[in-house]
Symmetry: C2
């Protein structure tokens, strides 16, 4: 484990000169630089990021908080974050909170400890107070989920509009009895999508039947299944379902299929997110496509800007309704 001192000794120069060569400031004479390079190669030297970062007091690490790595919605966002970060010499520290406040606290402390230069939070269950507190002193960005009244910058889409469009589309193809599978209302995106759903129904003078609205506690396939089971047991069944996440929609689809019903003939189904898998189901899923990669990439750029002390605004990206076989 050679250090910069070893290199300096070997090359017969001072550590300052080695450092200059390392950071290729071209103040070093060519011959000297060559000597140093030679020593570096000979000793197989690699600079210690620890030492460097301590001095420059940055870690070049970005903390990324997600509720669950198993939700494919996040994986594409992460890809966008990672690509963009690496381009700018940052690495990401991916942390799964499991929506567990204790773990969240541990991770957020990584920023206070200066192990990470900033946070991108995608956890809708994040403790808003704690995050806002952190944001007062450190760079923080929210991606996808955000706080309408808060001060933290965010990247997101217009969930309400998207939900409205999805439900309007169901109405336009002739459905009058439209159910909703929704996440917990403590999440902003769930409330927004609910609003969009209601708005579409109201606009077309369709009644709102609370029996057709099902809130799940988490976003896993099983939750979608369970929700659908509940909806199918209604005496007066909806003929179309809007689920506010593909994962839930896929669970619902499974349940519908298992009951021997046909999608879209008996029940039409619209999801949300456009995860890869939504195109692999039988039938394939009509869904709202979120620009996930772009969201990730925008978040990464935003947090890096913040880290560099620049002012940043919020970004609202476009979504798109993708019509497939389930409607």
């Amino acid at each position: 484990m050679a250090t910069i001192q070893d290199v300096a000794r070997n090359a017969g120069v001072s550590v300052a000169t080695v450092s200059r060569v390392l950071n290729n400031q071209n103040v070093v004479a060519k011959e000297t630089a060559i000597k140093v390079e030679k020593a570096i190669n000979e000793l197989n030297y690699e600079p210690s990021v620890l030492g460097r970062n301590l001095r420059t007091s940055e870690s070049r690490l970005i903390l990324v908080l997600i509720p669950s790595i198993a939700n494919p919605f996040y994986t594409e966002i992460i890809k966008g974050i990672e690509d963009t970060a690496i381009e700018q010499d940052y690495n990401i520290l991916l942390c799964e909170t499991g929506s567990n406040p204790k773990r969240e606290a541990i991770y957020i402390n990584l920023v206070r400890n200066r192990l990470a230069d900033g946070v991108i939070s995608m956890d809708p269950a994040v403790d808003k107070v704690r995050l806002t507190e952190l944001a007062k002193k450190y760079p923080v960005v929210q991606c996808s989920e955000y706080d309408k009244v808060g001060t933290i910058s965010y990247v997101t889409i217009d969930s309400e509009l998207a939900a409205y469009q999805a439900v309007r589309y169901l109405i336009q193809i002739g459905h009058k009895k439209i159910g909703l599978i929704n996440s917990d209302n403590k999440y902003l995106y769930a409330r927004d999508r609910y609003e969009g759903y209601i708005k579409a129904l109201n606009e077309f003078d369709l009644p709102i039947n609370t029996d057709w609205i099902y809130n799940v506690e988490s976003v896993r396939f099983q939750d979608g299944q369970q929700a659908m089971r509940g909806l199918l047991n209604q005496p007066d069944r909806p003929t179309a379902i809007f689920a506010d996440s593909d994962v839930l929609a896929i669970g619902a689809l499974k349940e519908i299929n298992s009951n021997g019903l046909n999608v879209p003939k008996d029940i039409a189904l619209v999801g949300f997110d456009n995860i890869d898998f939504s195109n692999m189901t039988y039938p394939t899923l009509t869904t709202i496509s979120q620009p996930m990669y772009k969201m990730g990439s925008a978040s990464a750029n935003m947090i890096i800007h913040k880290i560099k002390g620049k002012k940043v605004g919020n970004i609202i990206l476009d979504h798109e309704l993708i019509i497939r076989e389930s409607t």
Copy 2:
């Protein structure tokens, strides 16, 4: 951003004492400790991991290399790694190589730079030479994919046996024409599963038809679809397919369904991995279950042992055939 110096000044003690309180060595007098705690709270002090790590020359970060975060097979493993690592005060640095040697090199350098204390590699496309070189000086563990003749410790399952059992099962339920959708043979797991497939066929004196063996280049849904398209176009079609990953099997299933054929009546299908999705398809997928969480957890323990300088052996975990509707 208070430092340990500030705390020391505020509490009227030396930095050494503060450090002692921080690391709760109980040599500090109670009253002094209380003074220090008070100063810490007052100043909202958090120790800098950078400073600490420079001194102790560890980063308490574990690098985790995966080819693609989008493959659900890895997500469960990562969960296992993360839980286990955090328990022992390590964090993970999750890095997606995209099987791109250039990115891989960047990441592997993070270890050389001492930004990470060790690596868990799950990338089957990893440059074995480079990894072995790294392993000479730094802690390295391979998970899932490994090197039979190499010196790097690993956690894995017996892929050949698993594949053998899957195919034997297909034979036992009456199939004689069994196709294989396989990953690129440059990967050990692909070769192992191929061997298992061949072994089962041989054992039951079934002919090996190379037209029924399809190798894909990467492991995405589309690759499974494409492979299945190729197999369906055979004049003499197999009646059962063994795919060496659920992702491929799900793609294949999609293709079979799209062609109006029935699974399992027309074609039976067995996957590999038991990812969450495999229970959401229509019909649900018979598959080999890998103990993914356990694999992750074992890898994490193994790398931490290595980091601490202990000797470790290899671990081969048990798999299980999960029979569902697709056979």
